[in-house]
Subunit: 116 residues, 2 copies
Amino acid sequence: MGVIHKNFEDVEPEIPDERGANNVTIRWLISRKDGAKNFAMRLFEIEKDGCTPYHRHDWEHEVFILEGKGKLVMEGREEDLNPGDFVFVPPMEWHQFKNDESERLRFLCLIPIKDK
Amino acid sequence: MGVIHKNFEDVEPEIPDERGANNVTIRWLISRKDGAKNFAMRLFEIEKDGCTPYHRHDWEHEVFILEGKGKLVMEGREEDLNPGDFVFVPPMEWHQFKNDESERLRFLCLIPIKDK
């Protein structure tokens, strides 16, 4: 298939269909349809007062904060998110990303591709 | 091990030991030592006139340009790199990242973790 090189703005944002996601969009930058076999790269944008679901699941997240500020909610605690922060959420850890203060919180979130 | 949350500046830059890498540092943000089992997140910084090796290998790269400008060199062609660009380099594709114009080219490059 060759090397794929685009800008994230070339990829349409979608509305996640999961309950508990508010004012969030997701762009699937690199995924199975591009030939990726091991992990997928997605870009999330959370508008002010938006959030991802507070949930957990049996796969990990690897996150990098590109722009904006927000909160990382974990079981029993929360921490400030700033550009340049990265987060490793191991499988089965509760987590949520919230934007309670900036115009837009933009981050990458990568996940494993499970059925190979 | 729980959720890991840091800033990339908390991770020391290292000099890659591969021949052909010039004026490049790598920070291993999330890797096997953090409990990651499927893929690793690294942050590269290439100073002006620096480059990664022109090479290929049997694993893929998933890259996101954070800051700066540069060139993506592939077999027989090259393309401009700008912030917000992403690149999927499939296994066995020739590739090189060069900084020929900006103060610093900073990007994420994720790779699979092979021996599970």
